[in-house]
């Protein structure tokens, strides 16, 4: 590259030329820029500072607008700031503040120049240097220049002083030891009379206090004075921010401050100050009824304002206050619901949050109806927001707010059909979850599932596939509630299912299999019943005195048949069936509704064979295997029941497979683990004693008892880390049924003789409590539902001992989300427990009571318990506190102002004071 010639200097393009040039280049902008950069590279090497500074200015422009790299020019920028000429300096400083960062190597060279400028007599040079330092200050720079900044903090020129105060923030951040030097002077500035200085200082403290408010409590009197005296809104807003942080730490302070804040709220016309007051009250002063009332009134003013900004902020403030004062939201119900149809997506989102916050057990039906209708009309994104918030609200705490599950299930079905719906996964989870938890809703669930499955249009929407999978599973699992099982099989095997991904097709195939088994089984039962009926009927006829001989024959035959266990003569019973239907049409018609004829069964088998035939060659192994299994089974059954004749072997097989499927799958409860009896001779505690020490902090002690819940060791691993109860027993039943099915399947081919044994073994003792649960289920179910709505959630989830609780909808099962939060609570309360060792000890043995305690922390935002703890803490003394200082801090931030807290809040402050 040629060195800059005189020509370059003389005919250098100015910034204006470049800008004009760029504006005229429509197409070849980048070519023009690279040409200009080339020029700049030449010009910037000029010894003439004027040329250099213009080149640098051009480069700065290109960098800021077109993001051209300018790090290579760092040294030239330093040359410019060392010029005595103010305009060169200015250009140089601008370039530096735009382009320098921590990794710029030449930044070391700048220190002396900065120092020189900071000491300059020209206040504008000082201000340039300060601006620059505030932007690029590194730890080294800040350390080296702290004395200069300190001097400037007491500069006589307000203009310089306020900039120096602004820079302090950066200096503190980079070089904390500067606090020792500058802090005192900074605080003195708080007392100053110049409003600009006060404003700058308050700004600095506002930022500092947002990091760790506790340290600034001693300055509260100063801030208070500003709050009361100042009429400068900029300053007031910042002081309010500081108090929002301080007030929760010191209740007496809050009491003092709340009145002036209200005063400002009444007085001010400035919306920004008003909003800051409102926000301060709703975040930090929620215990002060009158202040809250006043701010809610002001929020209402915001809500009805035409300005969308105020409306948005009003809604935002409401959503901050909603958890503590729901009445505030309810009061403004109309506005909130109206803003649901606002043009602004932000406003819509806020109001959606509020609407959902208002949902309760009594209005869930109406609000959900409104929301779903509304989602139909809104754009896809918002539609899914709505659906998502409905789903998450409704499943909160195990469907706490849902009373009418039939309604909810049909709502889920309806939601699936909303064109924009992309919430497949959540709906899937809930459909299955509800199916397992709520027995009474299963008929409705199957109906909804059927409607979904049967609609071929839905198969084309990939967002719905997960829902369809759930529907298929539900229909297969609870097929006994279906009115037309055959119709379900047809739906499951319809040609368009080829659109489904393999993983979901496997569910379809498995469900079809379950339904088939059900059909076959009911067919068998039906024949048996009819045979019995006929027998008794004939008995009756004969008792009227016709042919006593034949009556004896039939009477003798029936018990025999029962003994044989379905092994009766099909032909005979077939015949009697026909006889019966002639004899007593009314009776049979009831049966026939659900009933199967031999023909219908054969049709069903043919249908399955036809549909699954091609799938046995599917490239997906799961699909292939399942369809092959089903086909094999169909093949076998077909042979056995040909000619309307069911062989003993077939009926036995059907019976056993059916048994395997009838084992009910349930959700897993928190206390499942405790139910699992420990087999004799299993030395759990001993072998895991070491582990206990390691895991003790993470897991509840009960988790020690994990291990072999079921003798099969099938379900052992899964639930180990989750200490909660039924976890174990239910999955084991699931897995045993799967196991049974698996064995059966293979047994059909390989080990037929073993089958009986398998079945007998299949039910481990672990299941006992549950099966007993299930018996008194039905009756209590509704009662539970009603009860649940009345009980506070904490109680219903934990207080009751598992065995009594029948089912899923109750504490039986804490949903996964809740479980997660449980563990998080554990971590937190773990820390707390450390502190409170003495207090909690008695509880240790009783996991349930402890858990409920944790629960309440999580939920209540530890309003009450910390209070207790704090007083304990004080008793515990300093050491304990030191040890857990950071936890302690975290814990503290949660506290609300409350009487007993005072002492605790202060104790850490005072000793530090003395330092």
């Amino acid at each position: 590259m040629a060195s800059p010639s005189l020509m370059d200097t003389l005919f250098q393009r100015t910034l204006d030329d470049i800008i004009k040039g760029l504006r005229h280049q429509q197409a070849g902008e980048s070519a023009f820029i690279s040409k200009v950069v080339e020029e700049i590279r030449r010009e910037i090497k000029s010894t003439d500072l004027h040329t250099k500074s213009i080149a640098l200015q051009k480069l700065t422009y290109l960098n800021s607008i077109y993001f051209i790299d300018m790090s290579w020019a760092a040294f030239h920028a330093i040359e410019c700031i060392s010029s005595p000429n103010f305009s060169h300096k200015k250009v140089g400083y601008l370039a530096i503040s735009m382009s320098f960062n921590e990794s710029t190597s030449v930044i070391l060279l700048i220190t002396n120049q900065l120092r020189k400028d900071l000491k300059s007599n020209n206040e504008f040079e000082v201000s340039l240097a300060l601006d620059c330092l505030s932007r690029i200050g590194t730890a080294d720079l800040c350390r080296d220049l702290t004395p200069e900044v300190f001097t400037l903090l007491s500069s006589s020129k307000v203009f310089v002083r306020k900039k120096a105060i602004g820079v302090v923030l950066r200096v503190f951040g980079k070089y904390p030891d500067a606090v020792r030097v500058c802090f005192k002077r900074l605080v003195e500035c708080l007392d100053g009379t110049d409003p600009q200085i006060v404003s700058a200082v308050v700004g600095v403290f506002c930022e500092l206090a947002s990091k760790d408010p506790r340290s600034y409590l001693p300055l509260a009197p100063e801030f208070y004075r500003i709050l009361v005296d100042s009429r400068n809104n900029w300053v007031l807003i910042k002081v309010l921010k500081i108090f929002a942080k301080l007030a929760p730490l010191e209740p007496r302070l809050a009491k003092r401050v709340v009145e002036p804040i209200c005063e400002h709220m009444r007085r001010t016309g400035a919306k920004s100050l008003m909003f800051e007051c409102i926000r301060t009250v709703v975040t930090s002063f929620t215990d002060y009824e009158s202040a809250v009332k006043l701010s809610v009134a002001k929020i209402r003013d915001f809500l009805v304002d035409d300005d969308p900004n105020l409306k948005y902020l009003g809604l935002h403030a409401l959503s901050i206050i909603a958890p503590n004062h729901l009445w505030a939201v309810l009061e403004n119900k109309e506005v909130v619901i109206k803003s649901l149809s606002d043009d602004d997506p932000n406003v819509k989102l806020e109001s959606l949050r509020l609407v959902v916050a208002m949902v309760s057990e009594s209005n869930v039906v109406e609000i959900c109806r409104v929301l779903v209708n509304y989602s139909l009309k809104s754009d896809p994104e918002f539609c899914n927001e709505i659906l998502g918030s409905i789903l998450s609200k409704c499943c909160q705490n195990v469907y706490e707010i849902i009373v009418d599950f039939d309604w909810y299930v049909s709502l889920l079905g309806e939601m699936s059909r909303i064109p924009h719906c992309q919430k497949g996964e959540e709906i899937e989870n809930q459909l299955i979850d509800i199916g397992m938890r709520v027995k009474d809703v299963r008929p409705e669930l199957v109906r909804v599932g059927r409607d979904l499955l049967i609609d071929p249009a839905l198969l084309g929407n990939s967002f719905l596939h997960r829902i369809l999978s759930a529907a298929a599973w539900v229909c297969g699992e609870y097929v006994e509630f279906s009115r037309k099982p055959v119709e379900l099989v047809e739906a499951l095997l319809q040609p368009r299912t080829s659109l489904l991904p393999p993983s979901i097709r496997t569910v379809y195939i498995q469900s079809a299999f379950k339904i088939l088994i059900f059909c076959l089984h009911s067919y068998l039962l039906q024949r048996e019943n009819i045979a019995d009926d006929m027998a008794s009927e004939m008995l009756g006829l004969k008792s009227q005195g016709e042919c006593s001989g034949s009556s004896a024959l039939v009477a003798g035959k029936a018990p025999a048949r029962q003994e044989q266990d379905e092994g009766f003569n099909p032909r005979d019973s077939n015949k009697s069936y026909e006889d019966l239907s002639i004899i007593n049409e009314g009776d049979v018609s009831a049966l026939l509704e659900k009933g199967f004829t031999h023909e219908s069964i054969v049709n069903l088998l043919n249908l399955i064979e036809l549909a699954l035939g091609p799938l046995s060659g599917s490239p997906d192994v799961e699909v292939q295997e399942r369809s092959k299994n089903v086909l094999g089974f169909v093949d076998l059954i077909k042979q056995e029941i040909s000619n309307g004749f069911v062989s003993e072997r077939a009926s036995k097989i059907i019976d056993m497979v059916h048994d395997a499927f009838t084992e009910e799958l349930g959700p897993v409860s928190v206390n499942a683990q405790e139910k699992v009896p420990i087999p004799d001779g299993l030395m759990l505690k001993e072998s895991l004693a070491d582990l206990d020490a390691i895991c003790g902090n993470v897991q509840l002690p009960s988790s020690i008892s994990f291990s072999m819940g079921s003798p099969f060791g099938e379900s052992v691993g899964a639930s180990v880390s989750i200490p909660q109860s039924k976890e174990e027993s239910e999955p084991s039943s699931e897995s045993t049924s799967l196991l049974a099915e698996h064995r059966k399947r293979h047994g059909l081919y390989y080990l037929p003789s073993e089958k009986n044994e398998t079945l007998a073994n299949d039910y481990p003792p672990a299941n006992d409590p549950k099966s007993s649960d299930n018996t008194n289920d039905d009756a209590q179910d509704l009662v539970k539902l009603a009860d649940k709505s009345l009980l506070p959630k904490r109680r219903s989830n934990h207080a009751k001992p598992r065995p009594v609780v029948v089912k899923l909808d109750e504490g039986d099962v804490v949903p996964f989300i809740a479980k997660k939060s449980d563990t998080r609570d554990d971590l937190l309360s773990d820390a707390v427990r450390d502190i409170l060792l003495g207090v909690e000890k008695p509880d240790l043995g009783n996991p349930s009571s402890r858990r409920s305690k944790h629960r309440s922390h999580g939920k209540e935002k530890s309003r009450k318990s910390p209070e207790k703890k704090n007083s304990d803490e004080i008793g515990d003394g300093e050491k304990e506190k030191q040890k857990s200082r950071h936890r302690h801090g975290r814990h503290k931030t949660k506290q609300r102002a409350e009487g007993p807290l005072n002492v605790a809040a202060q104790t850490p402050v005072i000793p530090d004071f003395l330092l």
Binding site: I65, F67, L169, D191, G203, S215, P308, D343, N346, F913
Partner: protein, 204 residues
């Protein structure tokens, strides 16, 4: 001892604000806290952007560290979001856990990025404040003024904000300061140009 007394009698302090303040503050504590804090200080305003209606960038000022790549990405993302918003919507956008406050003046969008818990209305006022100062300085400012005087727009912004904090709330003061600096620059320039004239003439 004195200190703890003072603490417990906080009411007393509130009542009598003329009380001489006895200096004593847990400086070492604050040092420790600032130490423990992250190295980059919390900023009130993270960055300032001026974007034209066509999506062209007119000014960028970054108070928080962003790499060149991030900057381009931020601008692309934000201009997409903001330019597509209709005229009667609110001036706030939630973005990546921050709030971006923007306001449109003629063909220019002024955007400032702040934390979630900052006061949106205050920032709107800062933006308006900035625009008023620009207006006063350029005499009914238009986009072209900012295009051709981008450095001046920066200097004015620097007078308004320091380290992402509003530091000068008086429009008059800012105008006065900028004018004073301008005259300094002008006189420096005159000097320079006369010298270069001399050189030019000498080398003729």
């Amino acid at each position: 001892m004195l200190l703890s007394c003072r603490w417990f009698s906080i009411e007393y302090w509130y009542l009598d604000s003329n009380q001489q303040r006895i200096w004593s503050f847990p400086v070492s504590k604050i040092v420790a806290i600032v130490h423990s804090g992250s190295t980059n200080c919390k900023k009130k305003i993270h960055f300032v952007l001026l974007i034209s209606r066509q999506g062209k960038v007119r000014l960028t000022k970054w108070y928080s560290p962003y790499s060149q790549k991030e900057r381009t990405k931020v601008i692309r993302e934000l201009s997409g979001v903001i330019l597509s918003r209709g005229p009667k919507l609110c001036n706030f956008v939630e973005w990546r856990g921050y709030k971006v406050v923007y306001k449109r003046y003629a063909s220019l969008y002024f955007c400032m990025c702040i934390d979630q818990d900052d006061n949106e209305l205050e920032v709107l006022e800062i933006i308006h404040h900035y625009v008023e100062i620009l207006d006063r300085y350029f005499g009914s400012v238009c986009e072209l003024d900012l295009i051709f005087n981008f450095h001046k727009a920066y200097y004015i912004l620097d007078e308004l904000l320091i380290a992402g904090e509003l530091q000068e709330s008086s429009k008059k003061t800012v105008a006065r300061l900028i004018a004073a600096q301008d005259s300094l620059v002008e006189s420096a320039k005159e000097q320079a140009s006369s010298i270069s004239n001399i050189i030019a003439q000498a080398t003729k």
